[in-house]
């Protein structure tokens, strides 16, 4: 069983770079990503009747129509998703759901992540808004309670989750370091990864400085520039593409709070409820998953995702990581592209990278890091302060 009505048939992924050499308007980047994705799937532009985006800096309102117009598309499904790092995950399941209910047939998911000239003028305004997670406006709870005491951006919030984990379950810093190291090992088989050719050891992680205790520098994602896109289409159209159709066979989304202060229980992520729904919808058991692609903003995010998704019980994540080899040739492959920790986090495309890698593995296109049998992948998206949690199960035809 499971929903086999919408499938990923193509994608485009730009090699992350620390600093993109040129700037490009978001609409220009979307046009380029769309062209590459259509070519990959061997689709014609006129077949596209849906778009999902995360925003357009040069046209912040009426954004989907700006994209449709720029690409000269006639679309019956137009969506903008605002779920932070979980946005790409949210874009993918919304596209699949739209296809399932029959409002459209083929949807482009577009995630440019390059510097836009539009940001230049807006920089002084945008930068604080990003740091303050959009909570700096008058009337926002964050502007009254959190920003003044210094709780901004993501690191201290996730650090508080880690600190709580330490107090309740105990915390082996070397096990958390292993998560970073094995992500980096996977990146050594991915020439596109930002840390390709730069392996690290547990000792390297252990001696890196604390940024917000107990999170250390080498346990944090690598922000960079890049971009990614995907084409999702109906089962019928998916049969005539060059690649193995990769069905979006289960999904779930759950959200309980914005700021970490208001997270009901730091150690029980909303991912649990999202994952239950996804597995039930796909008619699948945890043991049937061949590959996990978990949103990895920090090592603690990965640990909580392993538990939240139900691959082990709450509090057993460290034992799970100790017992398993998370590399592409290991017994429990995880983020085989290197994850955002080592592939890089090219802005919104960072959250898409997990889905592109899962698709690549299922379609047998992962080259040196191809895992032996990959039919089913579990992917997660995490936005905000463990706030916006999404689980998606991909399955090869």
């Amino acid at each position: 069983m499971g929903k086999k009505t919408a499938a990923i048939v193509g994608f485009s992924e730009w090699k992350p770079q620390k600093k993109w050499p040129t700037s490009m308007f978001s609409l220009e980047a979307m046009a380029q990503l769309a062209a590459e994705t259509l070519a990959d799937a061997k689709f014609e532009k006129h077949e596209i009747d849906g778009i999902v985006i995360g925003g357009v800096p040069e046209s912040p309102v009426f954004a989907p129509s700006a994209v449709a117009e720029y690409l000269n598309l006639q679309t019956s499904f137009n969506e903008i998703v605002d779920l932070g790092g979980a946005s790409p995950a949210g874009m993918i399941w919304r596209a699949a759901a739209a296809i399932e209910v029959g409002v459209c047939e083929s949807v482009l998911v577009l995630c440019p992540g390059v510097p836009s000239p539009s940001y230049r003028d807006a920089k002084s305004k945008l930068l604080p808004t990003m740091i303050y997670m959009g909570g700096d406006a008058w009337g926002s709870p964050q502007s009254q309670w959190e920003i003044p005491v210094g709780l901004v951006a993501a690191v201290p919030s996730y650090a508080m989750a880690a600190q709580r984990y330490r107090a309740i379950y105990g915390y082996d810093e070397e096990i958390l370091a292993k998560i970073s190291v094995q992500h980096r090992d996977n990146a050594q088989a991915n020439p596109n990864a930002i840390f390709y050719g730069k392996p690290i050891t547990v000792d390297d992680v252990m001696i890196s400085r604390y940024v917000a205790d107990p999170i250390k520098l080498l346990e944090i994602v690598m922000p960079c520039d890049g971009g990614g896109a995907m084409l999702i289409t109906s089962a019928e159209r998916a049969t005539r593409t060059p690649h193995r159709p990769t069905f979006v066979s289960g999904y779930g989304e759950f959200m309980t709070h914005k700021s970490i202060t208001n997270m009901p229980d730091f150690l029980h992520s909303p991912l649990a409820a999202a994952s239950e729904r996804a597995f039930r919808m796909a008619g699948m058991r945890r043991e049937e998953i061949d590959l996990a692609c978990l949103y990895d903003s920090f090592t603690i995010t990965v640990l909580l995702a392993i538990e939240g998704a139900g691959f082990c019980k709450p509090g057993q994540g460290q034992a799970f990581v100790r017992e398993h080899d998370l590399r592409y040739h290991g017994d429990w492959p995880l983020n085989t592209h290197g994850g955002q920790l080592s592939f890089g986090q090219p802005r919104l495309a960072g959250g898409l990278s997990h889905f592109i890698e899962a698709t690549r593995q299922i379609q047998g296109r992962a080259d040196a890091r191809q895992i032996a049998h990959c039919d089913r992948a579990f992917c997660s998206g995490s936005g905000g302060m463990l706030s916006e949690q999404i689980a998606v199960i991909l399955e090869g035809a």
């Binding site: 920003i147 901004v152 650090a159 508080m160 600190q163 309740i168």
Partner: protein, 140 residues
Amino acid sequence: MMLAYAENGRPLPLVAPISQPFFDAAREQKLLLQKCPRDGFFFYPRSHCPHCLKTDWSWQPARASGKVYSFTIERMGQDPSQRARIPFVIAVVDLDEGVRIIGNIVDCAHEDVRVSMAVNVCFEIIDNMPLTCFRSVSAT
């Protein structure tokens, strides 16, 4: 609207009308919390009780004591306006009234801060604006 800043550069709360009684009391080192007759205390200040969405709540004095739920030592200073303060401790505290509140832990060595540590709420006044802080009970 952008944030307001103190003379020393720190960002100050942009007080919404609904929160004004909290800040007025805090300026006198008193903690006021909203209480719903059915659901008990809630925080942060809201127009509607977050449990029943009714508006028949009232402001009540709170004991201002609780336990650290979690904390971190912020060392990066990603917010330029807080950079001069690093390192400092951010903590979330579960108050006896059953609500969670955020602030800085003051007058306590960073390495002595613990989850479950008993603390009292106090307020640091900057430019006549109260900012929530916690002091270890054993230190007072």
